[in-house]
């Protein structure tokens, strides 16, 4: 069937305002004339739209001599560094992190706390996270920013369109609805960390980067996400991208998911540490650093463990590549730091097992790395503002954050 046609003037206006904002967000500060050229509208139409966005305090005019201005001084439009911002949060297995990102994409406030969330009571974890959110929101407010929403990355499956963590084996959570546990007053989004990591790659990576890729990352489990034609594949129930449970040794080790021989059992952090003969310490970052240090020092057991993990990743990714024919495979999260030792065996398997000749996807390493899920979460809120600017003019944003800060 034909694509839907915008059904009102209002909707058309909203779309055009969004196009102006995205043109500035993606192409950088620009004059009205160059925005018009970028999006193919007349200069007059763009001027009207720009006036509205200036009034809504989403765009600003860079004054003469102002750093960052391009072209004739005073004529360049830029996204505001004040006004709406996105709050991103990540519930890790042993760390909570929160940040605020402004419309320009800059991180303006940040807080994190080490804490053992494995087996933690969801309400207690959410309360701690809420306090960090309040701290970051207060810091953002001092800088003239107002939070437009909160997006939370979790290491588990989230039912599509809800805030319910269906299953997060490494937290020990099942069927946890985070909505009533997190600060009220802010629009809330909860999603799988690998999904946010892949979105960060899509949004923050090179502008000519691939728009069809499989993103694979690791913290304790293996996270995967599939981006097709610039859109995250969510799946019928929101559970797409579970690369960690693709069978790589069908008769192999039992997995917490109920299956056998899942990728996670061979390339997950716990499996790699065990194979390298290393203890399972306190903090993910420290564990990955230890693995990287040992590998760099040429420790045989560590090198073998990483090579075998690369082989397992290659087998699972070969299946994904044969099924999806993506443009690229991106290693993110902890895998980005371990890439030098994973890639040779991974690439060998992928090359040998890709059925179509000359269809080996590009193998790349995420620039966002371990920050991907957090940044992807915060940016998802920023993009929601850019996509619906009429809802976010001055006085329109949620004002619940100070209330929230008082509540927790």
């Amino acid at each position: 069937m034909a694509a839907p046609v915008p059904n009102s003037q209002q909707e058309m206006r909203r779309r055009n305002l969004t196009r102006v904002l995205h043109a500035v967000a993606e192409g950088g500060p620009a004059s009205r004339a160059s925005v018009a050229a970028r999006i193919g509208l007349t200069r007059a139409a763009v001027s009207t739209l720009v006036d509205e966005l200036l009034r809504a305090e989403l765009l600003v005019e860079l004054g003469p001599g102002r750093p960052g201005g391009v072209g004739r001084p005073g004529s360049a439009l830029a996204l505001t560094g004040q006004g709406p911002c996105g709050i991103g949060a990540e519930i890790g297995v042993d760390r909570l992190t929160v940040c605020a990102v402004d419309l320009r994409g800059e991180v303006r406030a940040r807080a994190s706390a080490a804490c053992a969330n494995r087996g933690g009571d969801p309400a207690a974890v959410a309360a701690r996270l809420g306090r960090l959110v309040a701290r970051v929101a207060a810091e953002a407010a001092e800088a003239g920013l107002r939070p437009a929403g909160l997006a939370v990355a979790v290491p588990g499956l989230v039912a599509r369109g809800t805030a319910t963590v269906v299953r997060a084996p490494n937290l020990g959570w099942r069927g946890v609805d985070l909505a009533p546990l997190l600060p009220a007053g802010l629009p809330l989004t909860v999603d799988n960390e690998a999904n946010f990591g892949a979105l960060a790659e899509l949004w923050l990576g090179a502008s000519d980067g691939p728009r069809d890729f499989v993103h694979v990352s690791a913290e304790i489990g293996i996270g995967g996400a599939v981006v097709l034609d610039g859109e995250l594949l969510r799946g019928a129930r929101g559970f797409a991208g579970e690369l960690g449970h693709v069978p790589v040794r069908p008769e192999g080790r039992r997995c917490a998911c109920g299956g056998r021989g899942c990728l996670e059992q061979y390339a997950g952090e716990e499996a790699v540490l065990r194979a390298a003969g290393l203890p399972y310490g306190e903090d993910t970052g420290a564990r990955i650093t230890r693995l990287a240090d040992r590998a760099a020092a040429g420790d045989t057991a560590t090198l073998r463990a990483l090579r075998d993990a690369g082989t397992a990743l290659g087998v699972a990714l070969a299946g994904a590549v044969n099924l999806l024919d993506p443009r690229a495979v991106v290693l993110g999260g902890a895998l980005a730091r371990l890439a030098p030792w994973l890639l040779p065996s991974l690439e060998r398997e992928l090359t040998a097992r890709t059925a179509a000749p000359d269809a080996i996807p590009e193998l790349t390493v995420s620039a966002a790395g371990e920050e991907g899920p957090l940044l992807g979460a915060a940016h998802s809120v920023v993009r929601a503002v850019l996509d619906d600017p009429l809802a976010h003019g001055p006085g329109r944003g949620p004002e619940g954050v100070r209330r929230t800060a008082a509540r927790v």
Copy 2:
């Protein structure tokens, strides 16, 4: 970015003509008023569009008492059983088949020939196919139909947007461009048979059937295709859906693709026949019938071979399900006929290995079965007509078929 907006009156008219045709195609014969209700346009607007489609001889008015008429006699509109038709063709490993399908979706002419295409010279195979196409086109012409295009299903990988078979291991073809070898004068589409099979399932299955599914079929190889939100996933190069080369025993049997332990080596027809202790005979249909007969008679070796094939299918599909979270898995082609003996072990693996709880997709058997690729091919041409009706009025269709018939 926002969806594109139709940029001209002409484009808007084309879209609305298409909406009228699809409303009649999908909802059956209907009055102008009910078409208007189905698509949400005014009765006056629909009347103008309908007049144009009647003049273009794509719609007809069913006369009073005419069978198939509904509502008030004389007022029901239906798709024509004359005018443009789609020619579908299938190059099988041991058979060529061609059919003509009218706008109503009815098969109006059909021809097939047994021939050993394995290792066959592409030019000779294409010439035989061309003669069948000419025969079917001539028969269609006698019934008042004019071919609007030719779509050819092949058991191999086709480079996206071309007529080039990159690799068809079971034909022994590599880099064969079919365009210069097939009848000129008709718009030509060449695609993988599994893709056309999945499209047939999407287009000809129940109207409330799933729009997100993995389709798996078998002739000699294993064919797979992925449909997401009602669209076939093609992949960056056109090679998506290669389920047959998903590793199920990573250290297992060598495969023609260069990999090891691919699904095809455990659930492909050749593997199943060997495991069942049956010879590899002349014709696919006869071989599948023999397997089904033996299984129905309780032959132990055949039952075990099919059970093991179901297990291998379950392992590969579990990977696909964890990655894509589809609404359904559909068994097509020869697998549809063997489903009673494949499903128990297949379902067991899928259930045990799907990571998300309650996310086991529905397991269904294709209604089109072995006819899927052929029907999907013919229907793809019909849908191209419905999607661009202005190009297919009387005298607008390609007239090359009689020329073609004379040429071959």
